[in-house]
Each structure stands twice: as structure tokens, then as C-alpha cells.
Amino acid sequence: MPEVLRAPLVVEFPFTRSLGPVQSAFLTGLRERTVLGVRTGDGNVLVPPVEYDPATAEELRDLVEVAATGTVTTWAWNPQPRRGQPLATPFAWVLVRLDGADTALLHALDAPGPEAVRTGMRVRVRWAAERSGAITDIACFEAYAGESSAPASPHSGTFADPVTGIVAPARLDYTYSPGRATSAYLEALAERRIVGERCPSCHKVYVPPRGACPTCGVATTDQVEAGPRGTVTTFCIVNIKAKNLDIEVPYVYAHIALDGADLALHARIGGIPYDQVRMGLRVEPVWTEGARHPDHYRPTGEPDAGYDTYKELL
């Protein structure tokens, strides 16, 4: 069995989110060093504020201002901060009930060590030097000697130039491993061979193989060579240039039934004007130097295949 392949895979996406009136007021408030909460029908002050009462589902709009000081309700010492977390040095995660609030806000507490943190300790917001209207406008919390201050006071939630949306970037790192069947397929491609796997039950040959026959639900283990020549079964003409793709439009993307395969794979067709590609066209792979897979397929010059020879693979 060839070595199983592994490669880094990064999934990264900037989620653009719009804010409702309550979230907009809260995040704009943070930019202005003002912490807002929302009062529920039974008088509780929720910080951070939500638009609907978690107990009654009643819509909430009654904004109040609370203090930037508060009390730790629970904590957890994080000795090894991870990427994206508020502080790069060891810190405590804390739930903080701000003075005037009835619920707690999750954030980080800057402290010299776990012995300096306890439930009930008094803390205050340390504001970020640059603020944009995001939860990270609170850089973290820090120890604070003062007692609890005034209760929540009404606030209009109105600020100049309100924040109406946030961009929430996310990045996750993976090590992708395609498994046994696909690894074998990719290894063979690197040697410019195309291999599929035959289902032991229905005897269909799958290229590329994924290790299972989707019809029979059994493992395909019997490796067979396919192609390299094949027949275009159907195709489309691509007219819009994809980002980061170095191919001139229009070009043709086709389903190709490799000789000996029972399922068509898809690939780009080159070496022929886009408007001359047709069903039944006989093609072969074109390998570029050092590539692990064919760059595209081009006409072989053979006569076109008869419809009956590939109609089952459409």
C-alpha cells in the first residue's frame, strides 16, 4: 500500500454580519467606552444585551447603561493562550457581572497568575487603544479595588456614526488526508497513470475511486488501470473567470468517460476551440512538467465515439 498522503488545508472566511438595533447600540457603545445592557420585562438587566428575552422570547429594546466595573462570577486560568484569544500571555477566562447587570459577560482577565484570581474579585474593563465597534474593543479586564457603583441608568442607545455591521474573520487549520483509495489514485497520477477501483459486487469501475461503491455500499479494493484516453459525454462552456484561476475564458469543462471506467470524471478540455468541443469527442490527458495531475484533456484525433458507447455514462 502506498503511503497515505497528507497536506495542510486552511479554511478561512470573513463573515460579514449585520447588527440589529440592540447589538448595534452595544457594539457602538463599546467603541465609545460605554457598556450597554437591555432590561427585560421582569426588570433584569442582561449584559451583553440580546434582542429577545431568553425566558419569554419577548422583544427587548429598553437599553440601559451599566458600569465598566464588575464582579467575577466564575473563572478559568488559561496557561497557554491560543491563536485569536484576547491576550497572548497566560490569562484567566472570566464571566463578569458588571455593576448594574444581572447576567455575566465572557471575556479575559489579565492577572499575574491563577493565585491572583478568585470568584467574587472586583474587576474593571481595560479598553483597547483602537476601537472599532466589536467585543474586542474590551481588550480584557483587570483587577480593580473599588466597590460596586451605581445601578443601571436608562440610555437612548443613540450614538453618532453607529456601527451597523461587523466582519468576523475565521480561520481554521487542518491537515487533510484523503484516505487510502484517493491516496492510491493520486500516487498513480504522479506517475502519469490513472487507476480506478472495481466494485466486487456490481463490477463497476470508479475513477477517481473513493473507496466505496455508492450503489452497493461496499468497499472497492480491486485496483484497475483506466484510460488514459476517454470520451466527452457532456460539457459546458465557462464564460466567467474564476478568482485566482489562470485560465482564459471561454473554456470548456467536460465530463469524460475514461476507457475502462464506469463513471465519468470532469476536467477541462484544451487544444481545440471551445465551440468545437462535442459529445463523443475522443480525448487524452495532458501532463505538465512536475504536476501531480493532468492539466487538461485534448483531442486524440480519433473518430468520435458512437453515442451508444457512452450513453450509460451520461
Binding site: R82, L106, C213
Partner: protein
């Protein structure tokens, strides 16, 4: 309403990595095992439902690839939940209760080894106020653990004891990933140490459900589902009392768990501290056998762990080792969502 039972259960050996297997390659053996045990073939299955998450592998629509292992041609009746397979089982149970199918195949899988599962799970959090801080799953569980310690509900030695008991029980479970003596280790996030946290690993599980006499035909002692319910709590951690789990208690009540005593409980508690919360919410005393499989502390293939709890409880009934068992599955940070199933075996095999 007709009776529905679990008639077969299978799971993989759970391992830290399984690079040589794609998801479908990992899943297929357990699908074949439950089919073989019941003598059913794909064409005999009335409904198929699965649970998994694209975020674990970092690939879109990954469940469609896994479907290759089922044999989806000719077309089958199929559904998927982007969550733990326990919720897929709930959907299948409802389908059978309505009479739309007599048998169902439920499966779930997770390859946590592909990414950093602690980071991956942050993406399920509130995207406005919480996710931008990247609080990882261990950190959030640690906040809950400290709240329990402050409330006097547990302490670090008691947590260590629960973790040790799970791993000791897991020695009898050939599929478990972490078993026997496991050092307590350093604090991963205080107050949780390495031993208080679940292993990271890959695995899959499958279950077959059947209704009425069909279940009796397929299994000597079916595990009848007497009730099942799931409930959720506010997403904001600072709104909840982290030392309690009212959603678990309500789901258990609606599932009928408190009507009569259970002898076994399979609890989905990835962290030792969460077992404390669940035992309190479910009123489980020392006479109830909790997690004889070793639980999530012994094997935690994310998205399959909850389904495995139900499968383990059912298997114990099928083997005659339990007459009435409770199975619990959770999802989200600090036991945010909870599902409870009550299973029973008939008096005579």
C-alpha cells in the same frame, strides 16, 4: 403510538488518528456490522439518517461522500443533521412513530484529528459577542468546573476520581481510546487537568431501529425506546446557572426517566465536571451504573459520541445486563443542548 426499538449497534475502535481512512472508509465497517447483525440489506431499510459536521474535516457537504457507504442507489429515503447522531436518531424515531417507515439506519462519524477541535468548536458560539474571543471548548468547560467547585458541588480530587473511574471502566470496552490508568496531568485550563478532558480522536457508530414485531424479528431482546426528548438553554453562558442543567432535567422528565428507577445511565459528559452536573440534574444516586462503557472521557469521536451513548445503553439491554437504561447526549458549550432517551428490555428474552 407504536413501539420502536434499537435492534443493533456497532462502533469503530476509536483512535487518535486515522489518516489512512477517508470518512466513508471509516464508516463502512460499522454500517456492514449492523446490517449483518440484523440480516437486513440496504434495500430493506425504510429510512436513513446521519449526523456529522463539515467543520471537523473542513470540507463542505462531507456527509454526501459518506453516503457512498450506504448504497444510495436505487434512491433511498435519507436525511442528515449537522449535529451529533443522537439527534439523527431522534429524527428516525419520529419517522418510525409516524408509521412512514418500519426500519431505520442511523449513523454518525467524526474525524477530529484533521483539525484543532478546540478551535473548531469555537465556531459554534455566538458570532457577535463570543466567537471573536476564540474561547476554546476546554476553557468553557473549565469555567463550568470552577462554578461547580465554588458551589461546593465538587472539587479537584472528586473530578479526578470520576475521570479515573471512567477510564477504569473503559478497560472492558474494546473500542475505547483512553483506558486504564491515565495520569491526571497538568492543568490544561485550570481547574481542568488533562485527565478531566476527553481524548481527541476519530470514530463512527451505527444503529438500526425497528418498529413493533419487526424489532422482535430482528433482535432477541430489543431495546425499546420508552421516551425521548431534547431541550435547549440560552446561548449566552452568562445567563445560565452553569452548575445546573434544567434542559437535561426537563428532557428527562418528558422522556419519562423519572417515572421508574433506571439501573444504567450512559451520560455524554466529555469533561469530568459535566458528569457532576448531569448526575444532579438526573437525580442519579450511587446505585445507578453510570457510564460502564467509559463514556466520553474514554472515547470522544465528536458528532458520534452522543449516538454511542444511546447505542451502549441499548447494547447493554440487548445483552440482558440492563432492564431500564437512560441515555443522554449533549451539544454546544457547557451542556447547552441535551437529549435524553429511556430504553427498556422486555422481561422475557
Amino acid at each position: 403510538m407504536r413501539d420502536v426499538a434499537i435492534v443493533a449497534f456497532a462502533q469503530t475502535d476509536h483512535r487518535r488518528r486515522s489518516d489512512e481512512l477517508s470518512e466513508v472508509e471509516m464508516l463502512m465497517p460499522v454500517l456492514h456490522q449492523v446490517l449483518t447483525r440484523t440480516g437486513l440489506q440496504t434495500a430493506d431499510i425504510g429510512f436513513t439518517c446521519s449526523g456529522s459536521s463539515d467543520y471537523l474535516a473542513g470540507r463542505a457537504f462531507s456527509f454526501t461522500m459518506a453516503l457512498d457507504g450506504v448504497g444510495a442507489w436505487p434512491p433511498i429515503s435519507e436525511s442528515h443533521v449537522e449535529m451529533d447522531g443522537a439527534w439523527a436518531l431522534y429524527e428516525a424515531w419520529v419517522k418510525l412513530l409516524t408509521g412512514e417507515a418500519d426500519t431505520a439506519l442511523v449513523y454518525a462519524y467524526g474525524k477530529s484529528s484533521s483539525g484543532e477541535v478546540r478551535d473548531v468548536l469555537t465556531r459554534q458560539l455566538d458570532p457577535y459577542y463570543v466567537a471573536p474571543l476564540w474561547p476554546d471548548s476546554v476553557s468553557l468547560a473549565a469555567l463550568q468546573a470552577q462554578a461547580l467547585i465554588d458551589a461546593g458541588a465538587t472539587d479537584e480530587p472528586a473530578l479526578a476520581e470520576a475521570a479515573a473511574r471512567s477510564r477504569a471502566d473503559a478497560t472492558a470496552n474494546p473500542h475505547a481510546q483512553l483506558k486504564g490508568e491515565v495520569p491526571r496531568g497538568d492543568h490544561v485550563v485550570h481547574p481542568l487537568r488533562t485527565a478531566d478532558c476527553p481524548p481527541i480522536g476519530d470514530g463512527a457508530a451505527a444503529v438500526i431501529l425497528a418498529a413493533g414485531d419487526r424489532a422482535r424479528d430482528l433482535c432477541d431482546r430489543p431495546a425499546w425506546i420508552r421516551g425521548m426528548d431534547h431541550r435547549i438553554e440560552p446561548h449566552s453562558l452568562g445567563v445560565r446557572d452553569l452548575t445546573d442543567s434544567p434542559s437535561t432535567r426537563l428532557a428527562a422528565e418528558r422522556a419519562g426517566a423519572f417515572e421508574r428507577r433506571v439501573d444504567t445511565a450512559e451520560l455524554h459528559a466529555p469533561f469530568s465536571s459535566q458528569e457532576v452536573v448531569l448526575r444532579r440534574a438526573l437525580n442519579l444516586d450511587e446505585t445507578v451504573r453510570v457510564n460502564p462503557s467509559g463514556g466520553a472521557l474514554a472515547a470522544n469521536p465528536v458528532m458520534a459520541t452522543g449516538l454511542i451513548r444511546i447505542g451502549e445503553a441499548a447494547a447493554r439491554i440487548c445483552r440482558g445486563e440492563s432492564d431500564r437504561a437512560l441515555a443522554h447526549a449533549t451539544s454546544g458549550p457547557c451542556l447547552q443542548q441535551n437529549l435524553v432517551a429511556v430504553l427498556e428490555g422486555e422481561a422475557h428474552a
